[in-house]
Amino acid sequence: MSEAALSRPAMAAAARPGRRVRPFSATGLPGFTAVAVAVFLLLYLPIAALIVYSFNASNSIVNWGGFSLRWYEAAWNNRAVQDAAVRSLVIATVAALASTALATLAAIGTTRQGRFRGRMAIWGTINLPLMVPEIVTGVALLIVFGQVRAWTGYQGLGYLMLAHTAFCIPFAYLPIRARLETMDRTLETAAADLYASPWQAFRRVTLPLLAPGIAAGMMLAFVISLDDVIITEFVKSAGQDTLPTWMLGQFRRTLTPEVNAISTAILALTLVPLTAFFLVTRRRPPTHR
């Protein structure tokens, strides 16, 4: 119907020789390279410096005194660091597992039930914590857990685990949901056609295809939990420092390259699983059509 009308501008453009439309190109902007280099330097130079000085032999975090592993050794043998590291790993593991399990159910619930009233509201509720300032969540949890502590007398790590699980859910949810939405639903229909019960179809088809999304969500949740300061600072009781809050505490005293060594270790701890995940998912053929 409107084909002729639509093609007229195209024909006009074709008829004007030498005036080809060039698409917008960011790399063509003046100074693009300089800005890009500056941004990368700003992002990575401090991290590079941090890593380099973690191998410093002297007591200073700014003056180079030769290569040594003494600060790694110091951190490794530091009782407070050991405790904080174990606490961090335990909390991050529990939070990653629990939040991913809940996020998987939430993602399936919000994408597989078809349209229902309030679906957007639920979606919003799941993702809103991403927008709420962490300091607000921290204060709110402090008050609530304070009450619970008073009633139950329980003082353990459970509060931190609960809090971390809660704020990790949206991070775990997003990649799982993205994966579910690109998944071909005919595959589940095909499983049912081939005599799979709803549970078998989920177990044998949906879950394996969802696995990369679940792994990504879990990794993200783990890293987010490992790194958290603000909420942990509000929720923890005395003697419940995690690695980040312990490091923050150190800044009130004299800083030694021990902090650099711990930071470098945390960096490695987050980069290793991410790299492994990237390599594993890239080697496998794509799992959806």
């Binding site: 095909a190 049912a192 056609d193 019960s197 059509r289």
Partner: protein, 355 residues
């Protein structure tokens, strides 16, 4: 056709999508019975309800009204995984995380068959579709035609009572398509499974089917053998959709119908009142204009097609007609445009349509 109980039957199936006035009537009182071992084709244009009918049989849709019977048993309320029916999906829907072998054995595993049986049947199916060499590959390492054959093997492996195929060949190029048509016929012959095949391609339907059901707008218009459907179309839609046809309107006066031109055509059976008539182009013969029973026509154009020529003509009242005139070796060529000719239907060519 040997068994008195149909392999699969739809009884007055109605399927509405949406609610109230906005509802789409995807199936409108569809009743059909497919005999055991039959190759039955649902033919109709896109959007006529073919997929919806298959999905009702497979259990992916619940009919708004009516019943689905499998081997005489009402299965309308049963979930898809309890129905001994398998589907070859248009998009194949192969499991991308499983190998070809694991795809083919999936149904048998879900049915809880013993290991040895699963292995043997899977081997047999892979051999049947000539994919033994590909057994350990993943589907995305296969060509379209190979994926198609995996989908077939996967659906045939559990030996369903009925196999449903939803336009399985539409994604293949012409050559592969012809090969797969032959392959499908062979597979049906070797397995003896009842096939319900969906296509919008009338040639494919005529070439492959034992019987065809022609659908339009959610209704099943006519069911019959390819010959029945082609030679005795019941309605104008069927006549038009299956091959090319000439449609004429007239007034029946006993054994003949009087056309608007004043000429008469012999009817296959006596009737009266206004009638719509159909004559296939290849069932018209050129005759001298004065011959008894021939319609006077003027040639308006001709296209040589090798085995025959397609002649376009106009009747005295302006009605456009098409005739296919066989080529005769060394014979004279077809009349030039402007020539006055007579058009005589061969015996039994005139069909009365139920509009």
């Amino acid at each position: 056709m040997s068994s008195p109980v149909p392999a699969v039957e739809a009884r007055s199936v109605v399927k509405l999508f949406g609610q109230g006035n906005a509802a789409v009537r995807a199936l409108d009182e569809v009743s059909v019975a497919v005999a055991a071992g039959e190759f039955f084709t649902l033919l109709g244009p896109s959007g006529c309800g073919k997929t919806t009918l298959l999905r009702c049989i497979a259990g992916f849709e619940t009919p708004t009204d009516g019943a689905i019977l499998l081997g005489g048993r009402d299965i309308t309320a049963e979930p898809p995984n309890r129905r001994r029916v398998n589907t070859v999906f248009q998009s194949y829907a192969l499991f991308p995380h499983l190998t070809v072998r694991e795809n083919v054995s999936f149904g048998l595993e879900m049915l809880g068959r013993p290991r040895a049986e699963i292995r043997d049947t899977t081997d047999r199916m892979l051999a049947l579709v000539q994919l033994d060499a590909m057994a350990d590959r993943r589907p995305d390492a296969l060509s379209g035609g190979q994926q198609q054959r995996v989908a077939l093997a996967r659906a045939l492996a559990p030996a369903p009572e009925v196999l449903l195929l939803d336009e399985p060949l539409s994604a293949l190029d012409l050559k592969l398509r012809k090969e797969m048509q032959a392959e499908l016929k062979r597979l049906q012959h070797e397995t003896g499974i009842t096939f319900v095949f969906v296509t919008h391609d009338q040639e494919e339907a005529l070439a492959m089917s034992d019987r065809i059901g022609v659908m339009s707008g959610g209704r099943l218009l006519q069911v019959g053998s390819p010959r029945d459907i082609y030679d005795r179309p019941a309605t104008r839609f069927v006549a038009d959709f299956i091959g090319e046809t000439n449609v004429l309107s007239g007034m029946a006066e006993g054994a003949v119908a009087r056309l608007p031109t004043g000429e008469t055509l012999a009817l296959p059976a006596a009737c009266s009142g206004p009638v719509t008539l159909a004559v296939r182009p290849e069932q018209l013969r050129l005759a001298p204009p004065w011959e008894d029973g021939a319609l006077r026509a003027t040639v308006t154009g001709a296209t040589y097609l090798g085995t025959d020529s397609r002649l376009r003509l106009r009747l005295a009242d302006g009605t456009e007609m098409v005739a296919r005139i066989p080529s005769v070796p060394g014979g004279e060529s077809v009349p030039a445009p402007g020539t006055e000719v007579g058009l005589a239907p061969v015996r039994g060519a005139v069909q009365v349509l139920a509009e």
